[in-house]
Symmetry: C2
Subunit: 306 residues, 2 copies
Amino acid sequence: MSLLIVGTMAFDALETPFGKVDRIIGGSATYAAWAASNFAKPIHQVSIVGGDFPKEEIEALEARGVAFDGVEVVPDEKSFFWSGRYHLDMNTRDTLVTELNVLAHFEPKIPESYQGCEFVMLGNLSPAVQISALQQLHKRPKLVIMDTMNFWMDVAMDDLRKALGMIDLLMVNDSEARQLSGEYSLVKAARKIQEMGPKYIIIKKGEHGALLFYDDKIFSAPALPLEDVFDPTGAGDTFAGGFIGYLTRINDTSFESMKAAIIVGSAMASFCVEQFGPSRLKEVTADEITARVNEFVALSNFEIRG
Amino acid sequence: MSLLIVGTMAFDALETPFGKVDRIIGGSATYAAWAASNFAKPIHQVSIVGGDFPKEEIEALEARGVAFDGVEVVPDEKSFFWSGRYHLDMNTRDTLVTELNVLAHFEPKIPESYQGCEFVMLGNLSPAVQISALQQLHKRPKLVIMDTMNFWMDVAMDDLRKALGMIDLLMVNDSEARQLSGEYSLVKAARKIQEMGPKYIIIKKGEHGALLFYDDKIFSAPALPLEDVFDPTGAGDTFAGGFIGYLTRINDTSFESMKAAIIVGSAMASFCVEQFGPSRLKEVTADEITARVNEFVALSNFEIRG
């Protein structure tokens, strides 16, 4: 099975209570591809970068089975740049700088060679860009998952509603779910968002794990309790990449499979936060992933007696 | 097996986003006894009340197998009274009024008939009172669990340290664990508290569930995602009562049993918050409890394939 990822490839500058980096590779599609490449091949990447984006980063992903036919390179411009500072709780952050650069005129182009992908991840982008990518697909994929953020709810709600009508699964964090639905209770929020289109809703709660809603069923996935979260940047995209990468590998979209996929995504995210940027994701081994998934089993496994 | 509960029996006045009650039965030992009485008999209650505490409330608990030999009644004084207002998130609240009344001179007395209890719960009280209760036991119980709060860390840290050295399990919420340990990471916080005495630490995270720490092992229990939390008062005490009631019934204190006990405690707490005060706990049936525990199984059960 093949996987299509649409998202950003960028530079980030980050400040956490543990340190600071001025320029590191980032972007939703970067994190998602690194995570998914542990499970699925080929990965069809759709993005846009400037002439400043390092060749070796592209080559490293290509070596992992990521195709770049759908990644536009604009030689004379700069890549998307985001800079942020995390608070002590690591769940909240301030955006210091956003330079759209090439992203300002991103019109995703799905190459002919990408057609027929059955699993699609739309990373956080303007809903119009997300819709455009979907509309170029000749065949309705088996599963389309999408991320978004509060910014698009503020400035592009009409497009966002349209996009929600075209996808199977929306992945948002708790505050985004509350804003999108106008409901404080996450159960009510999920139900309202389901009425907007997606049958499946994943609500990410950072260090508190994630909830999957489908029909009247709920699955609660724990997060691995960590001594330190070094840098949460990209954890959500890594989660999404691990989630859809695993589903692509087992080629199944049942609720039961999605529960397992959330655990796999959470395991990948737990690696991501161990170092700045995608560094840890680049070196993680299959054995480490298996061991980490087993930690999640131990963490949440119980038996009622008597 | 028999269970000893030391804690308050009181009146509460409550204000939540859903409504207001001026005077309702409350207190840690009240909630804990209602929850535990579904699993264990007899329950040896130790508390103090004023002449205003309703006879029918005592009779209702007696009918559930709760012994009152250790509950002092001071006819001319008033019962402990607490009044609070919850914020929208239901995890934070303001204390409006605290009238200690009889609690100001509470010296718990363990009757001879209570000796030999193997499971002990010390509800949130002054650490000196908790220590006094423990010191009156002729035989070291099999399991002593204790609740406390930030107030005692501010005003009675020496006593609290002493109490921590005498117990097996401390149950606190996340902000209390952080204050007690001086660590933000809950993993580090639990480790530091373990060094103060208790081998087992439960960190309650409200709507995000609870973590159990023992040795280098961690168990993460989900909370049931609820449409509405009507009134969170007593949820922590109900959790504790369900937890130790279940362990008393199966007469086991292994880590595996504690995992199951946390699920049972969480199920009981999920009933508690459905109505004001202990109302829902008084009427919940064994079948409803079994069904609720099964909801937790469905909520957290997954299988990794492929």
